[in-house]
């Protein structure tokens, strides 16, 4: 009954209703876009972190973790092939792949430059099995060979082409140094800004040999079909020398992102509160302008609380439809942007290297995200309007009926 009355009241002054809803409508669009950018970025970062850094579960030598600052390569995972075979026999483990990533120096024309050598198993690694990674030229490196795949950025920086050779130098697991000349067999482009820098990829066994690690690797990334498998893997492996962690614990960036999400929620609330001031103002004016109507309704038997709820229902309907329509418009915009993508580097994204940001962002918002923005927009508007609506509770019907409006 009050709901249809509230609906009629909204339509009574269409211009004012549209104007009031407009603020929420715009706020919903802006927030949907902001959250979609944030979600798109975080989803890509999570994808990058899983594929390039941790997998679903990251395994390292415990002592390596304790002395990570000095990169003690001697604390690797020996006989990595055997460990991987055992890992792949555990239910819900999709695949396990070795990885050794270390800073090295490229030796070019008498000068040394910093680079990152990444030793992987090309067949199972997440680096070349990910959307957004393109092998621009050539092929992937074969196991046991002194071949490598370099990033497009590295190729451009040092004018390197397919078939060229270069030498790199590194500290070894025996604390000495070693150098190796490798041939470029492929050039790839990555969207992960951390990888696309000056990384090059070579078979993990070749890098292991060069680093005097034998058949070991520094890490094993385990990809699973279920989350939080670390303790299950720990039970199956029974290796006290290994540090086995879920990806959410292994990456400090993920911990930071969880905190960032809270900050974003705070800003969302502030934004809707600001937008709700328009509805707050409208409700306040309505309460003042409709004194006689309020008085009549109370005289007819409505309780003051019912009348107050009528006003709140008006605000709820208005803000709900404004949030809904704003979200629908945002949905169309986000779908388009998701298909096209945004070049983060062109927007100054290079400054955030080191956090596995993708150079291209594809904004994305889940249905849950849209729903939460609609509910948040409606909820905050209704809460804000309780302040002017509560004035009805203090109103005397006789006084209200005698008023001019």
């Amino acid at each position: 009954m009050t709901l249809s009355l509230a609906y009629r009241n909204i339509l009574r002054n269409k211009r004012r209703s549209i104007l009031s809803g407009l603020a929420i409508f715009i706020a919903a669009i802006v927030l949907c876009l902001t959250v979609a950018f944030q979600e798109g970025m975080i989803n890509d970062m999570v994808e990058n972190i899983k594929n390039h850094v941790t997998g679903n579960v990251l395994i390292r030598n415990k002592e390596y973790g304790e002395h990570e600052r000095i990169m003690p390569l001697q604390f690797n995972i020996p006989k990595v092939g055997d460990v991987i075979a055992k890992l792949e026999s555990i239910p819900n483990v999709e695949r396990a792949t070795p990885k050794t990533s270390i800073p090295v120096q490229l030796y070019r024309e008498g000068k040394t430059q910093n680079a990152q050598a990444v030793g992987i198993d090309f067949a199972t690694s997440g680096f070349f099995n990910q959307k957004g990674t393109t092998l621009v030229e050539g092929t992937l490196a074969k196991e046991g060979t002194k071949e490598c795949v370099i990033t497009k950025t590295l190729a451009d920086k040092y004018s390197l082409a397919l078939g060229d050779k270069f030498t790199f130098l590194s500290k070894t697991a025996t604390s000495g140094s070693n150098g190796m000349t490798v041939t470029i067999c492929g050039i790839a482009r990555f969207q992960d800004s951390d990888v696309e820098g000056t990384s090059f990829f070579l078979p993990y066994d070749t890098l292991g040999r060069m680093l005097r690690m034998g058949d070991g690797s520094l890490e094993i990334q385990v990809f699973t079909t279920k989350e939080n498998m670390a303790s299950r893997i720990e039970e199956s492996l029974q290796r006290s020398d290994l540090e086995i962690r879920n990806w959410t614990e292994a990456s400090i960036i993920i911990k930071m992102l969880q905190f960032t999400k809270l900050i974003y929620l705070f800003f969302e609330i502030i934004f809707f509160l600001l937008a709700s001031t328009v509805i707050f103002n409208t409700t306040m004016m309505s309460v003042q302008e409709r004194n006689k109507e309020i008085g009549t309704m109370v005289a007819l038997g409505y309780s003051k609380r019912q009348v107050m709820f009528l006003f709140l229902e008006e605000s709820a309907i208005l803000s709900f439809f404004a949030s809904l329509s704003g979200s629908l418009v945002a949905y169309v915009l986000i779908s388009f942007m998701h298909a096209v993508g945004f070049d983060l580097n062109a927007m100054g994204g290079a400054a955030v290297n080191g956090m596995n940001f993708s150079s291209w962002i594809y904004p994305w918002l889940s249905y849950k995200g849209y729903l939460s923005i609609i509910l948040l927009g409606t909820g905050i508007a209704v809460l804000t309007c309780t302040i002017p609506a509560r004035r009805i509770l203090k109103m005397e019907p006789a006084v209200a009926l005698r008023s001019d409006c």
């Binding site: 002395h67 003690p72 120096q105 008498g110 000495g176 070693n178 150098g179 190796m180 000349t181």
Partner: protein
């Protein structure tokens, strides 16, 4: 009285020069071929390497790693330049700049130590601090080019071999300590067959070098000191 003091001072100056001359004589050789074992220890473990070195007058040095994890690596110091050969590398690496400070085979020696000019009298000013037991000598660099701006030596009174050396930075911070033992006379020159280097800025880090074979003033082919020979 003043005459006696001046005479004493001049005698002291003569003494330090004579000490440094003897010291220099031990390290100033026409040539040498030496094999040594390096035992490198740090807080995370230990490793052993074997090296063969060739040196000739003028400071040219060639080091071949003949045993241990880095077997096959070769280092050539020629005309103040340092070249590295790695078996897996297709080019000879010239080491320069800050890379010279890198550790040699993970030991407490840096590549910079290998390129040092050994002419003590030319590069350092000596002061005799004490002569009870050992000649306790402080050397101060005459120019800023020297890696170690101060060296404190305790020289054996008979052989002039430093049994203990502390190397200091420009700010006077003690960087390394070298203790030598098993002093032997070989073809008129005295050598410590065992030296232990301790990196004073690191915890539990030391390198012990034991000379297993030594030949002095022997003929070494010129080709040994060429870049081309490194890759052979």
């Amino acid at each position: 009285m003043i005459t006696i003091t001046l005479l004493a001072l001049s005698l002291s100056a003569e003494d330090i020069n004579s000490i440094l001359e003897h010291y220099q004589k031990n390290i100033d050789l026409q040539s040498s071929v030496m094999e040594a074992k390096l035992v490198i220890k740090d807080s995370l473990g230990s490793s052993t390497s074997e090296i063969r070195s060739y040196t000739r007058k003028g400071g040219d040095t060639r080091l071949d790693v003949i045993g241990g994890p880095d077997k096959g690596q070769k280092i050539l110091k020629k005309d103040s330049a340092l070249y590295l050969y790695y078996p897996d590398s297709e080019e000879i690496i010239r080491l320069q700049g800050s890379n010279l400070k890198d550790s040699f085979l993970g030991s407490d020696f840096s590549y910079e130590d290998l390129t040092r000019d050994n002419d003590i009298q030319k590069n350092y000013e000596g002061t005799l601090l004490d002569e009870n037991g050992y000649f306790h000598v402080m050397l101060k660099a005459k120019n800023r080019k020297q890696t170690y701006q101060q060296q404190e030596l305790w020289l054996d009174r008979n052989t002039y071999v430093p049994v203990k050396t502390i190397l200091y930075s420009a700010s006077g911070k003690a960087l390394r300590q070298i203790e030598s033992s098993d002093i032997r006379n070989i073809d008129g020159s005295s050598f410590a067959m065992e030296s232990k280097v301790v990196e004073l800025l690191k915890n539990n880090s030391s390198t012990t070098m034991t000379i297993t074979k030594i030949e002095l003033n022997t003929l070494i082919k010129d080709s040994i000191f060429t870049k081309e020979d490194l890759a052979w």
